[in-house]
Amino acid sequence: MKLQRRKLTASVPSFAMGDIGFLLLIFFVILARSQNDSHIQWQPAELKDIEMSAAPRATVSIDTGYKTYLDGKEISTDELASALSAVLGDTPAGQRNVFLKVHREAKATHFEPVIAAISEAGGDLVHILEPEEQSKQ
């Protein structure tokens, strides 16, 4: 007489699926949101009466070495207008926010051509700044 071996069933525990799904969702949210310009070294200028800014379509930065970056990638000011136009595409007016992060020690020769390029691309310029401290006012 043959004895039948009891079958072992290996199943994935389903109670963890909710947690896994939630973590994956958050992971992709972070990936989608982060325009990776964290490597750019810059210090914001300070100004009174500034407000919260809406989400940007693109970010242009000028770092401590006065190099220009578009969404974290180095770019020359001559190419900036066309590259920005491509990023902004047919986005309707009012949603064409372009964040401009300029190092506080930059001079007009560095930031004015960048502002002109943003204007040429039809971007809505937002200077990213820090609120000026009360003690300095």
Binding site: R33, L47, E51, S53, A106, K107, A108, A116, H127
Partner: protein, 140 residues
């Protein structure tokens, strides 16, 4: 005589604590990533070459240098500039006359430029940059 009821010890399941910690880390990471940024929005007219514009000659002109701000030829400090530009722009009724042409010296620092442009915005002016372009001509 009262009989004391034995207390039941309920331990939270320890196997879930790593999941909870991980979820908390991600939660704070998301909070940090979506932290709103502060700034100053600025409306700029589209860039155009000098030959296309300037049929209107009544525009206010501002020159910025590292040491002074010059409004229609007279040098001013930033506080004086704020009041003067506001009074100048009050006289302008048509939108095309509210254009303020700003010309900066190459070594003008960003914070000074920002103060001037904020003063123009707050006074209701339309800031326009006048840039000098360099052209290289090869002579054979």
């Amino acid at each position: 005589m009262k009989l004391k009821r034995g207390k039941m010890l309920v331990d939270p399941p320890a196997c879930a604590s790593s999941d909870i910690a991980f979820t908390l880390i991600i939660f704070f990471l998301v909070c940090a990533a979506v932290q709103p940024e502060t700034g100053m929005s600025q409306a700029l007219p589209k860039t155009e070459s000098k030959s296309e514009k300037r049929e209107q000659s009544q525009n206010i002109e501002v020159s910025i240098t590292p040491s002074s701000i010059i409004l229609n030829g007279s040098p001013l400090k930033i506080d004086e500039f704020k009041t003067r530009i506001a009074s100048e722009l009050k006289k302008k009724t048509r939108e095309q006359d509210r254009i303020v042409v700003v010309k900066s010296a190459p070594d003008t620092p960003y914070p000074i430029w920002l103060n001037v442009s904020q003063a123009i915005d707050q006074a209701g002016g339309i800031l326009t940059l006048e840039l000098e372009t360099e052209k290289t001509i090869n002579v054979q």
